[in-house]
């Protein structure tokens, strides 16, 4: 009997929450947006989503087999990457694009750095940036009109909004996603449903989406109307582009966002500011991808300087003062 007793270091009870369950929660939270995308932009978008997820999972399994590592596709993180990759693509892109994109995300952005936990940028966004650089025309022109599934002859509403400060859409249209855009970014209600689910389940910290969307809204209100201050339309600013999917599902990626609550607030605010600058003064109509990627790169810096207040630190401060006001 003796040798059958398990001997491990404490604690001997653990929280039931595990990485796999958390990742599954994120998949569940993304489903409303994926379904909305399939409804709004038709069967094609469903095909893109499936191809993207399949490619992500297959890439991870093949790579891990090839380098003789344990295959970890059952942790659902590759499914999330595949889903996110697809949801940020225009609905009319060729089906090989999500396949290449997801393979790039998994192999180049994630696995070569050591896999889950070691990547320094969000894999889906890194792949999106790669696709944007490699096939810019597909990535900026393959839009469809919602419900009619017709190819778009004009620019997306966000492009017009950036120039004129007016969206030309009703609030209902924007909430339901009845506008051209990436597959999963348009239906705000679906994204909000998933985001609130993740916050309620304590999977993500509200500080990132609130900091992000809040900053973007305030900034759009101040600078959003060309030639005038404080007359912009903050609501269209956050509802029209990819800010919602970015704020709730991309910027909140654990691995590439800060580990302290205050750090996460800075992450949100920083991403909001950069999105705003790219949209208003940059060459791209949309800035979410690069804003979050930039903040991913800044995350180690934030983690270095934004640290929690440690217990008993007041005594150290007093001692430093007594020693002549030295800070170190």
């Amino acid at each position: 009997m003796k040798d059958k007793l398990l001997v491990t270091p404490p604690p001997h009870v653990k929280s039931p929450k595990a990485v796999q369950g958390i990742m599954l929660d994120v998949v569940i939270a993304l489903l409303p947006a994926a379904i909305a995308g399939a409804v709004l932009f038709g069967f094609r978008s469903l095909l893109i989503i499936l191809a993207s997820v399949a490619s992500a999972v297959a890439s991870e399994a093949i790579y891990q087999k090839a380098v003789k590592k344990q295959v970890t596709v059952n942790d659902f993180s590759a499914v999330i990457t595949g889903l996110l990759m697809a949801l940020t693509l225009p609905p009319d892109v060729p089906v090989w694009m999500p396949v290449i994109g997801s393979a790039f995300a998994i192999v180049i952005a994630k696995q070569v750095f050591g896999g889950l936990g070691y990547n320094f940028v969000n894999p889906a966004l890194a792949a999106r940036a790669f696709l944007l650089a490699a096939w810019p025309l597909h990535m900026t022109r393959d839009w469809l009109n919602p419900m009619t599934y017709e190819a778009l002859s004009t620019a997306t509403p966000l492009v017009g909004f950036n120039v004129t400060g007016q969206s030309g859409l009703t609030l209902t249209q924007m909430l339901l996603g009845q506008r051209p855009g990436s597959i999963g970014e348009t239906c705000i209600l679906a994204l909000l449903l998933g985001g609130v689910y993740l916050i309620a389940r304590d999977v993500i910290d509200y500080r990132i989406p609130v900091g992000y969307l809040g900053t973007l809204a305030v900034g759009t209100w101040i600078f959003g109307k060309p030639g005038a201050l404080f007359q912009g339309d903050p609501l269209s600013g956050i509802l029209l582009g990819g800010a919602f999917i970015g704020a709730f599902f991309m910027a909140t990626d654990y691995v590439t966002s800060p580990v302290t609550p205050r750090g996460r607030l800075f992450m949100g605010i920083g991403a909001g500011l950069i999105t705003l600058m790219i949209r208003l003064w940059g060459g791209y109509p949309e800035g979410v991808t690069y804003a979050i990627l930039f903040m991913n790169l800044v995350t180690p810096l934030i983690d270095r300087y934004v640290v929690p207040r440690y217990y008993g630190s007041g005594h150290d401060a007093v001692a430093r003062k007594a020693a002549g006001g030295e800070t170190r």
Partner: protein, 448 residues
């Protein structure tokens, strides 16, 4: 005066499982076949044996004397014959330690010199209480086992204004303190007043978590007999009863980082078991030779609270609690958050051991350790404001100096970070490794 405290920095909410044993009255566990009495029952220098094999001893007789200031004597818990003095495995220190092996003769005969020191606190001076605490071998029974007589004599330049009696018992499953407060409230309170008198402290606050309403009621009754005592009822959250956490929550003060101690902010903290042991020593003359031990868990037939002789083997206590229920998966000495899992059940209860927890085969699963996903949950729950993920990452790579700059030494090893970690990483173990390395490096530096 009653204060209700809900606020806490960090911490986790763990199913407390107290219902298993909280309604079992304290029973005497009886005399086992042999008692294993470690010479190192406490923090500080081990005691030095005064007996040799084949000596006969009586209950309460001194069998080992203190060695140095931070040390206490050891007493025979019952009458019998010394079988041997030999090294035995000490689970608390994870190494072999010298122990006196005592074979009880079944008579449980007290030594002649055991007599009450006083019938009330007016009849005994602070100095006498401190000396009695030392002679009676009393150490902190909350787990750290620091000699109480040393605690009661803080340096002259550290005035103490408040004494906290810790009855929070925040470790899940354990109910020893709960039952003690419920059944022996008057004696616990008497002991607390004794501790306060010895330390020359006027203000005393009894601190209990709100998951023990009957104990709160009993202590409230007992407390009304004295002036100047307060009650603090704290919300149930682990590690509520950590000394530093309690001081922070109840008094709004923070103990300075190590080597800071509670007396640096004018506070002393003692466990209810310690207060009871002191009361016992004053009122009956019996030194610390027994303590209350909870034997519980889904893996024992009859979860119980036992008045247990120090040195009683774990196997004996599990038998007393009706034996195993189903197949045992893990046996833990202490609570589930900070206790140590046992390889063998032949190890004894020592002064700092408050419980034995048996988990079933189904509960004792070893989960695979995944890479850190940097979710930051360990940072959210750390009651010390540390970042366990970075400390453990450095410790894992043997970068101990970096671990030190991330304040590894501040860690109280409560286990909240490892509890919450979704990647199931043994964060505390790595931090402990860093602490051990840093300590040994520091002491080597001191020597050179």
């Amino acid at each position: 005066m009653i204060t209700i405290i809900k606020k806490m920095i960090g911490g986790v909410s763990v199913p407390d499982k107290k219902e298993l044993s909280e309604s079992s009255p304290i029973e005497f566990a009886g005399l086992p076949g042999e008692l294993i009495l470690f010479l190192s029952q406490h923090i500080g220098a081990p005691s030095v044996p005064l007996v040799k094999p084949k000596d006969t001893v009586k209950r309460g007789q001194v069998i080992a004397e203190p060695c140095g200031f931070v040390s206490v004597p050891l007493h025979a818990p019952t009458s019998g014959v010394i079988k041997a003095i030999e090294p035995r495995y000490h689970p608390g220190q994870a190494r072999m330690c010298e122990a006196i092996i005592l074979e009880p003769d079944g008579k449980h005969e007290p030594a002649e010199e055991l007599s009450p020191a006083a019938s009330d606190l007016d009849g005994i001076s602070p100095d006498e209480i401190r000396e009695l605490a030392r002679q009676a071998g009393i150490v902190g029974l909350g787990g750290a086992a620091f000699p109480t007589s040393v605690k009661l004599a803080p340096p002259e330049d550290k005035p103490i204004d408040t004494y906290l009696l810790n009855g929070s018992e925040c470790e899940p499953y354990l109910t020893a303190d709960h039952r003690l407060m419920l059944e022996q409230a008057d004696k616990v309170m008497f002991g607390f007043k004794g501790l306060m008198k010895a330390a020359g402290v006027r203000r005393g606050i009894v601190c209990i978590e709100d998951n023990k309403p009957d104990a709160i009621e009993a202590m409230k009754q007992a407390l009304s007999a004295y002036d100047g005592l307060e009650l603090a009822v704290l919300s149930t959250r682990y590690p509520r009863g950590g000394e530093k956490q309690l001081i922070q929550a109840v008094l709004g003060r923070e103990v300075p980082p190590p080597p800071g101690l509670p007396y640096d902010v004018g506070v002393l903290v003692s466990n209810v078991g310690t207060a009871y042991a002191l009361a016992d020593a004053v009122l009956t003359g019996v030194p610390l030779v027994e303590r209350v031990v909870t034997v519980t868990g889904e893996g024992v037939a009859k979860p119980s609270n036992f008045r247990t002789l120090i040195g009683t083997p774990v196997s004996y206590l599990i038998e007393k609690a009706g034996g195993f229920k189903g197949t045992p998966g893990k046996v833990i000495l202490g609570g589930p958050m900070m206790g140590c899992s046992l390889r063998s059940l032949d190890v004894p209860v020592f002064k700092g051991a408050s419980g034995i927890l048996v988990l079933t085969k189904e509960q004792a699963v070893e989960e695979p350790i995944l890479p850190c996903v940097k979710c930051g949950k360990c940072v959210d729950v750390c009651p010390m404001g540390l970042q366990p993920l970075w400390i453990s990452a450095y410790a894992e790579r043997e970068l101990m100096e970096e671990a030190e700059t991330f304040r590894a030494m501040d860690c109280i090893e409560c286990g909240c970070c490892a509890y919450i970690c979704p990647a199931k990483r043994p964060l505390v173990q790595w931090i402990k490794m860093a602490k051990a390395d840093i300590s040994s490096r520091r002491s080597a530096q001191k020597k050179s």
